[in-house]
Amino acid sequence: MPVRIQAEPFDPGAELNAFSKTASDVGAVVSFTGLVRDVSGGLEVMEIEHYPAMTEPAIEAMVTEAKTRWALADVLVIHRFGHLNAGDTIMMVATASRHRADAFAAADFLMDYLKSRAPFWKKEVTGEGAAWVESKAEDETALERWKA
């Protein structure tokens, strides 16, 4: 299954290896992993909320769009929700293609869309308290790159 939304931790290395083995005729695999930043001196915990009925269909639509735009042999998206600790892997995207340009562009595209269009909300908990992560203007700007 190419899209997985889960509370459980996962092993990005094991996922990368399994993913790289699935498709034949693949020469290039790009992966992105997002981590809870382990800021020295201010150990951070993250709470991620999501909209279960919407999350998977929204991400599957992004994957479908990516497959329309680039020659992809396979795509993997894993995104966690719930309670995460510093250093934990939040999410992962992997793309497989014959050629590196397609794999890079598709992973970059999927990350931009996951960042601002997949229904997840992050709350950071530090020594100073808890705060919802605010969306950034640059994340909307990043989406402009992919307009037809």
Binding site: M54, P57, A58, M91, M111, S116, A118, P119
Partner: protein, 83 residues
């Protein structure tokens, strides 16, 4: 009409609940927002600045001027911060 209304992140926290069922005659999302604002202070606070909010109708991102006819589920939330 009967609607499921969902709230996420700080919208959920301000209103104090994740989900409720409402009976409404609101024609558009904006009509529904006005109805909610008029209801209680916590709703007025959550919907004070809708430029800071997004809305999904039946799990699809939509706009505040969209009609509600035929819609079963409305969700209000701040801009997403996934990835």
């Amino acid at each position: 009409m009967s609607l499921d209304v969902l709230y996420f992140a700080w919208v959920r926290e301000r209103i104090g609940l994740p989900k409720e069922q409402l009976e409404t005659q609101a024609a558009t999302v904006m009509d529904l927002v006005e109805e909610l604002r008029a209801r209680e202070e916590r709703y007025a606070a959550a919907f004070a600045d809708i430029s800071a909010l997004k809305v999904a109708l039946d799990q699809e991102l939509s706009e505040f001027d969209a009609p509600l006819a035929g819609v079963r589920e409305v969700a209000f939330f701040p801009p997403m911060t996934g990835g």
